[in-house]
Symmetry: C4
Subunit: 348 residues, 4 copies
């Protein structure tokens, strides 16, 4: 079976992963409308390609928070990578380093931050954080991450409670006994989402800031109002995200929300987006609409499920090739030439 | 089979009810366009969820006509509950009381108002009324309801004649011989809709007002013009309803009509809505667009069909949990924080 | 099998007619887009029903060109009724008379005008005309029709050449040898559409006017420009029609074109519409948008195919009952209360 | 099997061509969205047909760059015709001459320009060109074409790199060993797209102009900005094209892009369009929106696959008959009467 595009990896993962694992990775909240809209919304954006521009030398590199990456696609934080591949997040970290891009490690990793760091020393890694009821535990995590050389904190703000994912309820999904959410082992029981603190507010950004010198990126913003607040509270970046459609169903597709967030921040902080990226041309659309970089969630898991580190590299390489080709066919030789003139919203 | 969401109860009812009963409950007029639009219209409304608001303490209670209910979902009037469960409306009344919400008993109940009252003493109950050609019969019903402690009258105005429900015609639907529309037994023959008076006009509201001190709620309004008339004629509330799509096919979805009715009454009376509620987030949308409370019709029947009083409680509890979670994920800790800023109409 | 709605008759006809006949009746031009759009366009129109209006006495009669009919639905001209039922157009004429409505007999009838007249003496009949290359033949037809008591001429203008109906080409459709286009027997060979004159222009209305005192109705107008010309050339009525989608594919649905035609003629002539009428509520929509009456084509043929005269009466009676019910449920007690306030175009 | 419309030829080709060949001809880039949109976009355009205009004498001829053709449909450049029929482009050239229309021979022909010329002497032929890294090779081709009597150069500008056609990757598509891209044999290795020069810019139009007195037509323009540049750089014509959806996926449908290109050039050069033409009425729509002529790609290949020269003539004859009929039914007797008043964009 030739792996030609990302949906080949999806088909592989669906076929070979245990059903309960596939269901967990694929799950969306309620009717899965937002999960699916994330993808469909890209289809409603049309290119306005320009011809006869010299695209013989292509430069697809970009920088995020000052660090250069080989192309504007990073790995979004998702949990439990050992469900996809025995080496879990260590494989993810190695693949990201091999492809010279950024990996956002999840609090809900099945490897420790120490293992992840050791697996890919010197690579660009960010650490994704929830704020727990036990603030000391969160503080400890932040400080471990900083000490281990993670270069930014990504605070997820759309999960005061876990969304209702029907298949997970039906399957009584839980981590198999031989896997652990290792980062939290010492602090409290494994995988109790109820330990997350639903009382967190914007002021907790100040608290987080007091703990670390790392830049703070806020993940889960979907409105201009919240984007303005994020800027006012001093974050360094925003990831427009709806948690892959796993939290509140029937909110906006992320690519649609990106437009208003970009408008609201007026360039004062970097804006990223995740959700629904399935082709290199999706990346081009996101950048045309103002994203500095995109992050992939489920496709990374499919790559891991296919062949671990190597499979994830395959996924990233396909996206990279497709992105480069899309840019060239749209008439852009470097990322700096990408802009809103390249796209229009279909009225249909 | 795990009962995770309302469509699980629908599937159960479809599988286990006699076909003629299922068809009767499911029936819509003509092509069933409006019945289905009631549901689809919710999908076109998208949330604008807000983050980092303290949602650790959730208060989902509300008041309707001054009475507190545990959450803004009541039981809409539907007929013939014995078709779904042997105890019929007695079970419905008990479930509503257990969940501390409002039950609107139908004129076309298979239990008497006395039985319903006795089954759930002290609970919040409203009585749904048609005006019959024999006005004395209607007067008697109103006065029985008032005497039994029903707290409001709900006058249904969209049924001068019964809509054409093709499956009921094909099935020659009629109540089985051992069931009766007990409330009407003394006054006239059972289940002759033709006894309803198609000459009723707005002035009959005055007549109804002269019979009782109960608040009058009008059910079946779909336009701003009629909403303004309802206010002018002094009703205390409006239920935006198209009779579950069982009367005039190809009128508006109720959630769409809600917007213009809310605008027209400018807060002078409470506005409720029924039709198409299938998830807790639908309730949140209806409240964001100005409804004070929603009422469920078919889902209540599915709950009864599943396990009587207990099954209906299951349905209500799922809606309650989903509503609370949706509120939290949208950033609202209490019903008073819900408003139009939470939603937008998708252009698709 | 209960015949509850018009699609029951369609299913019957599809099952029992010879395939070549079914295909001929069902045929649309090219991809059949316009044929199907005629129906779909009705679905995009939504009612704004009004409540609490006295609908105890319903009056659904109307007048067309001064003649009263029992309800605003007539029989559109379609050819070859013997393909559907042995008695052909004689049955059609009898059914129309029994239901007290108007029948537009086609030039391409398989009975003579004389037979049609004799079958239903004293009934309201109009005669549909094409202008042939042999003008004398057309003149003779017009004068025969007038002498036989037909009360109007309906000139079809959308067939300078026959549309391309793929199934008819594949089937090599032609009338079986025992049937004849009897009205044309004397004048020229049967069923040669090529005898129609593609050079006809507006000035030929004057020629037609010179032949007869009958009112002239023009059938096949789809634009405001042509509607204005029709008025200027002195016709008495316009049938907005696209020949059931059998001529130019991908023109407008007739109910959509009706709006601009009604606007253009500003009440100076009566406007009718055919195409896509499948329910009584479609009739109500057409009247709300300004049609004085609608005409049914294929549904009449399905009725004939079911049980001849009796079957067509069944079809008409169902439409009549549905129309009356729709009116009542929308709050109209008589045709004069129907107006544009009753409908809105869905944006979807 | 009767060949009634173009999709009959498509079905034939799909059934009888080797799968790898069918896949190659059918391929679109990535998700094939643009390939399919080319067709769907035509469906969203609706006619406004006019009646009672003398259409007894139909004139469907037109001129492109001063040369008369029998109707406004030519053959777009597509490669590798021997995959469809043994005689390859020689059959194509003969069919085009027999139908008195224009054939644009592709650089990637499996016959030489000399063979093509010899097969149809005196016919209207244009030559399609890519600019290669080896400019001398391109110069040689241009001068051969001019010497052989080709009457215009068509420069394709949307292929700096080849689009990603998934099926071709899966099939490892390559030309069978007994076929050759004969025009390029002497200059460099066969079928290496990488020999195309991705550094080409607008200034290369001047270089091309310096090589030949032939008119230069630019193929692959999709925006008003590029249309204006094309005019400024002095081309004689523009083919609005997205390479049949085989290059950048999710750009505009060509019929939609046509509108803005026609507007931008304000009549200063001729504008043509290819992509998605499947019926004679599509041709009428393209002309109504300002195209001087359309070109067909895949349908020509289906015709060749059916019966070579004869099959392609069948395809062209069907389009011709359908185009003539559409014109007549829309009320136009000659191409000069076609204009934007004939069409409107459906809002759906």
């Amino acid at each position: 079976m030739a792996m030609v595009c990302l949906s080949d990896f999806e088909a592989y993962a669906k076929k070979y992963l245990p059903k309960i694992t596939w269901d967990y990775f694929a799950a969306g909240a309620d009717d899965c409308t937002t999960r699916d809209e994330n993808i469909l919304a890209y289809k409603r954006i049309r290119f306005r390609p320009r011809m006869l521009r010299d695209v013989s030398v292509m430069d697809i590199r970009t920088k995020i928070l000052g660090s250069e990456i080989s192309f504007p696609v990073g790995i979004a934080p998702t949990g439990f990578h050992q469900l996809a591949w025995p080496d879990g997040e260590k494989s993810t970290a190695r693949a990201a380093r091999a492809m010279n891009t950024c990996y956002i490690a999840s609090t809900y990793s099945t490897c420790t931050l120490e293992e992840i760091s050791a697996a890919a020393p010197g690579s660009l890694r960010w650490f994704q954080l929830y704020i727990h009821r036990n603030r000391a535990a969160s503080q400890q995590l932040v400080q471990r991450a900083e000490a281990l050389g993670f270069q930014a904190l990504v605070l997820t703000v759309d999960l005061p409670y876990t969304g209702k994912r029907r298949d997970d309820v039906r399957n009584s999904f839980r981590l198999p006994p031989h896997m652990k959410v290792k980062n939290l082992e010492r602090a409290f029981e494994v995988c109790k989402m109820s330990l997350l603190d639903p009382s967190v507010t914007w002021n907790d950004i100040y608290w987080l800031r007091s703990l670390t010198r790392l830049p703070i990126i806020i993940k889960g913003i979907l409105t201009r109002e919240d984007a303005e607040l994020a800027v006012r509270y001093g974050v360094q970046g925003i990831i427009v995200s709806n948690h892959g459609g796993r939290q509140l169903d029937e909110g906006p597709a992320t690519i649609d929300a990106l437009v208003e967030v970009v408008e609201a921040v007026r360039g004062s902080v970097e804006v990223y987006v995740d959700g629904g990226i399935r082709k290199g041309s999706d990346v081009l659309k996101a950048l045309a609409l103002g994203a500095k970089c995109v992050f992939i969630g489920r496709p990374a898991l499919w790559g891991l499920a296919y062949k671990g580190e190597e499979g994830l590299q395959d996924v990233l390489r396909i996206l990279q090739d497709e992105f480069r080709l899309s840019m060239a066919l749209a008439g852009c030789a470097s990322v700096s030439e990408i802009g809103p003139h390249l796209v229009q919203f279909s009225k249909l």
